[in-house]
Symmetry: C2
Subunit: 205 residues, 2 copies
Amino acid sequence: MSKQAFQAAYIHCYELIRDKILNGELPGGTKLVEERLAEELGVSRTPVRESIRKLEQEGLIQKKRVVQPSVEDLRHIFEVRMLLEGFSARCAASYMDEATQEKVQECITIAREGTVDITMDANKQFHDLIVQASRNPEIVRIIDRMQSIIYLFRRAVVYYKRPFLIDEHQHILDAIRSHDAAAAERLMKEHLQADLDFYLHLGKH
Amino acid sequence: MSKQAFQAAYIHCYELIRDKILNGELPGGTKLVEERLAEELGVSRTPVRESIRKLEQEGLIQKKRVVQPSVEDLRHIFEVRMLLEGFSARCAASYMDEATQEKVQECITIAREGTVDITMDANKQFHDLIVQASRNPEIVRIIDRMQSIIYLFRRAVVYYKRPFLIDEHQHILDAIRSHDAAAAERLMKEHLQADLDFYLHLGKH
DNA sequence: TTCGAATTTTTTGTATACATTTTTAAAATA
DNA sequence: TATTTTAAAAATGTATACAAAAAATTCGAA
């Protein structure tokens, strides 16, 4: 049996609650009551409490309520993404090894043909690999922390099949492969801006 | 009596433990034992536990031990600072109103003549005001989260009286005042790089 | 001695009870 | 009816007890 067969309850709770938020089972605005969740998950309030605190730190919960990110929130997050992921793309153009470039290419290929879920995963992986090329754990952590909210957003984008999204990914990779740092950064920023614009436009309906 | 006269114990604990870490009473590497801290602070383990979790999220504690940031950690943090504070300085050149510019000027003036503690506060305030000019709460939050580790660092820098530090602040403000966004960003990045270099050089002794 | 198994001690994780605070609902007054 | 007061309930914060896990120590054998 694996050494990790047993998982502390509070970690398990954290993941369960997080998933409930991300898949919409706990929609934005819902008040999280410790006792109710405890009963639902079959544990005491203690681990639930810790989970909620952690989710609060991550920004998915605010004042015991599930966050419903506003358009402004999204703008702010994307501003940070453009800075940090743009920088990461620039690094990738200098540092990323061939094997990783191959993996990035696979993400693009898979995303072209997969189901919605597979495409979402592949697109996330695409960004993750580039962020990791920054070789800066702080940057990785910051982007990771925003991931949850980005996730809620990305779901909508892929669901509506934003045109050119995957082509843009390909262009970014091409720039990285030809070690054109300035182009990689610029293309990444434009790509994120397009994502954001598309999303904001959707909100108009 | 004010409505906030009473403070939840876990908030109080958080602040006390945090201060103990920042002022060196709990030096890097120290193992934090819930029960001992609880006794020391005169509360039960419950609020202490929550405080530790929060400090873990903030990066001041890792695996129950007080973090001792490595040179690499510092490099990574400063890379992020250069990106985000550089951007903020750029924004400041466009958006910062005159009243705030005045406040920034005061920070510089105070820092020139104050004691070590006053100078530290003023320098922190200088950076805070510029970060706020980004008008992006995400950026403010990220920088704030790094503040604790930055604080430990800044203490050393001011203690050893890095030359030109305040002059550089003045140059940045001048660029902001003349609405030269590119210069503001460049000067801020150079300033942070100089800070980092100075610190790394100190470490060589 | 040195290594490793076994045991003790320490520390953490969880449940539960109770106190305090906040929220909600109800009643009473203008 | 609207608004404030008061009472009720619900929810959170805290302490404490116990169980499980991790760490430290002891002991014996090579």
